[in-house]
């Protein structure tokens, strides 16, 4: 029996005679478990559900525009737009990447448990209940410009609930990396994914409370007088700042870790410039300052006087350019890893999770480039569909990268290595979905056009995303379980424990002496 550490085992056993009893026992075990691998997968699982739901909403929006159905009222379309926009950020990208961090980080740093496991579980439930309440509130006339005052209040309160839950979970992740590393895993030897999880967690810890503080003001004011911040329409001046570029980059940071972690595994070689990857992903974390200062608009007007252009360029380069530079650095250092140098006799492999990681990082780069273009006044992209397109590209890229992580670490979660032939095409399908879902909106913004072709392409893109998730869930049921601890021949410490990893992760751990302790055990590896 799998150890849960929850104290519900006896109750589960009483019910385990029949199928219902087994199901109830499993639900009780999962819903109360303090095993980080289960908490993380709960987050990620609901993130995938959110992705399907958001895709359906986006398809309905596009269908209405393309077919000119007039099936929905103007207010309903506004509600769809908000569910789509908010949903991509806090119901898709955030739970998927944060969930992967919760599930993987303690294993990677050699910890027996996540720090403050009950806090992480509480964080999950706060996020989940906040997400459900947000959907209920917006559907019933809440949200920005909502007609029902009580539902507007409920939508604000649910956002506070979600963000407090996110901060609680982020504190667990950051504390785990900072305090619970196994002997020998110095900060310089922390695996790439765990480093990006730490960067994301700290970025969330400093950004989400700012959003909470602002929403508390909006809630108290809207509930009582609506004199300080105005009616529900004026929420549009404040809330979108936290769901637009560059703040949404924070939600996608761990996909850089997935890519940086998997490329060296694919080529069976050490990463030669680890510190540059650390610096690159930390630079993406600079996006947090945009959230802290509640600013997402850093316009650069090239038609202005030279001195003014330079001034605005410097500001824009800090808030939007540095995160883009961070992604570029991560990709450039990857080229160094991929470049053959004759030191390794092993042949490069195309691993399906690596393909997920590579494509998601390239898409993240595309989203960040669009984020820079949004700031150029001469292009007149502000307020156009390009803003929505940039959010879609970044958030959906985060989802694709997280899927890669779920495939890669599946042996440690369930004991099964997923069937590569089934999963590999999904990386391509998902990436195509992201491109079609996001890029047409950007092009429509650039062309200042509302041609139905763009809506049609977007519709196809979101339909592909929903299809990818459903196929992904189907493809990730089962697989091969040969009992090997390291089926990918991966390099980091989590691959030394059993597959699936026991509830307390490690029976015993030797002192770690390099960044790639598992590679050291192979003929091509020698301690660095």
């Amino acid at each position: 029996m799998e150890q849960s550490g929850t104290g519900v085992g006896a109750g589960s056993a009483l019910l385990s005679d029949g199928r219902i009893g087994t199901t109830v026992g499993a639900v009780a075990d999962w819903s109360t478990s303090t095993d980080h691998k289960k908490i993380g997968r709960l987050f990620a699982g609901f993130g995938l559900v959110g992705l399907v739901a958001v895709s359906v909403v986006a398809v309905l929006r596009s269908l209405d525009a393309v077919a000119d159905l007039d099936a929905f009222t103007g207010q309903q379309l506004d509600q769809f737009a908000q569910l789509h926009h908010f949903g991509l950020a806090v119901m898709v990208a955030l739970p998927l990447t944060l969930g992967l961090s919760v599930a993987v980080t303690p294993l990677q740093v050699g910890a027996r448990a996540i720090a403050f496991a009950r806090l992480a579980l509480l964080g999950f439930y706060m996020w989940l209940s906040g997400a459900i309440l947000l959907v209920v509130a917006i559907v019933n006339g809440g949200g920005i410009g909502g007609s029902d005052s009580d539902m507007v209040d409920l939508s604000l309160a649910s956002m506070v609930l979600m963000m407090i839950g996110v901060v609680a979970t982020a504190i667990s992740v950051a504390t785990t990396v900072l305090t619970s590393r196994a002997p020998g895993i110095t900060m310089r030897r922390v695996p790439f994914f765990s480093w990006t999880a730490l960067v994301q967690a700290i970025a969330l810890i400093i950004t989400a409370p700012v959003m909470v503080g602002l929403i508390v003001y909006l809630f108290v004011d809207h509930r009582n007088s609506a004199l300080a911040f105005g009616t529900s329409d004026s929420l549009a001046d404040w809330l979108p700042r936290f769901f637009s570029a560059p703040v949404v980059y924070i939600y996608a940071i761990p996909v850089l870790g997935v890519f940086a972690e998997l490329l060296p595994v694919s080529v069976s070689r050490r990463h030669p410039m680890r510190q540059l990857v650390f610096a690159g992903s930390a630079l993406v974390g600079v996006a947090a300052f945009s959230g802290v200062t509640m600013q997402n608009d850093f316009p650069v007007d090239f038609s202005a006087a030279g001195q003014d252009v330079v001034k605005s360029l410097v500001v824009m380069a800090f808030f939007v350019g540095l995160p883009l530079l961070g992604i570029v650095i991560t990709l450039l250092t990857a080229l160094l890893v991929a470049k053959p140098d004759g030191s390794s006799s092993a042949k490069p492999r195309i691993l399906s999770p690596m393909l997920f990681g590579l494509l998601s990082t390239l898409l993240f780069l595309l989203g960040a480039v669009v984020g820079v273009l949004l700031q150029v006044v001469d292009l007149e992209l502000a307020g156009t569909t390009a803003v929505e397109g940039s959010v879609a590209i970044v958030c959906l890229a985060a989802a694709v990268g997280s899927m890669g992580g779920l495939v890669f670490w599946a042996p440690k979660f369930s004991g099964f290595k997923r069937d590569e032939k089934k999963v590999l095409p999904l990386a391509l399908l998902g990436a195509l979905g992201v491109v079609l879902a996001g890029v047409p909106a950007v092009v429509a913004g650039l062309a200042d056009s509302d041609n139905t072709l763009f809506s049609t392409l977007s519709l196809v893109g979101y339909a592909l995303m929903a299809l990818t998730v459903l196929a992904f869930v189907g493809a990730t049921r089962g697989g091969t379980a040969d009992g090997t601890t390291n089926p990918w021949c991966a390099h980091t410490i989590e691959w030394s424990t059993a597959s699936p990893a026991p509830a307390d992760n490690y029976a015993a751990l030797a002192t770690v002496r390099s960044s790639e302790p598992e590679l050291d055990q192979t003929p091509q590896g020698s301690p660095s």
Partner: protein, 192 residues
């Protein structure tokens, strides 16, 4: 179904609670910082419109000053608890934590007194919603600290193993609370 491997020896303590509290303090700092920033922004708009801020209300400055002194004093007693806990002095630890809890209650009482004296109308003007949102959040931070103190007292005095780390973490939280209130006090009650 799989059998879990037997647990190994417990890992050495690595100041998990202290780091967790520091991160919570960081989150609280950005929370209060953001709220103060929005307060200043809104106040500027009211002043630019030629109105008075905080309008007609008179702030009971003695009570608000006493609240600040209370939090500073509370930090002193929290540090006394840390000093005693490190020496495994059960009596003094319990006494210090009790005084911390009483001072936290005194702070909450003083805030309620300020509310009753000022009689700020929530639905009347910009000031009401800003005032209650900011000071209410500050009071929530102090209530969270009070709960932390009670938990620290139970874990330290009632636990099987003597734990001084949670007392240190709890003191760190109170330092953050005192710093946060200092900023709130200066902006809301001094510069207004």
């Amino acid at each position: 179904m799989t059998l879990a491997l037997p647990s190994g020896p417990a890992p050495a303590p690595r100041r998990q609670l202290l780091v967790g509290s520091a991160l919570a303090g960081l989150a609280g700092t950005t929370l209060i910082g953001a709220m103060l920033a929005v307060w200043l922004l809104e106040r500027q708009q009211v002043v630019n419109a030629g109105e008075r801020f905080p309008m007609k209300y008179i702030i009971p400055e003695v009570a608000t000053n006493v609240m600040l002194i209370t939090l500073f004093g509370l930090c002193f007693f929290a540090q006394w608890a840390v000093y005693s806990a490190r020496r495994q002095d059960r009596g003094h630890t319990g006494l210090a934590l009790s005084v911390v809890a009483i001072l936290a209650l005194a702070f909450i009482n003083a805030q309620a007194f300020v509310y009753s004296q000022m009689e700020v109308e929530l639905a009347e003007g910009v000031y009401g919603s800003l005032f209650y949102a900011l000071t209410g959040t500050m009071m929530a931070i102090v209530i969270a600290g009070l709960i932390f103190t009670v938990v620290a007292a139970f874990r330290t005095l009632g636990g099987r193993d003597w734990q001084s780390e949670i007392v240190s973490a709890h003191a760190l939280y109170w330092y953050f609370a005192a710093a946060a209130y200092s900023a709130v006090w200066f902006v809301v009650y001094v510069t207004k």
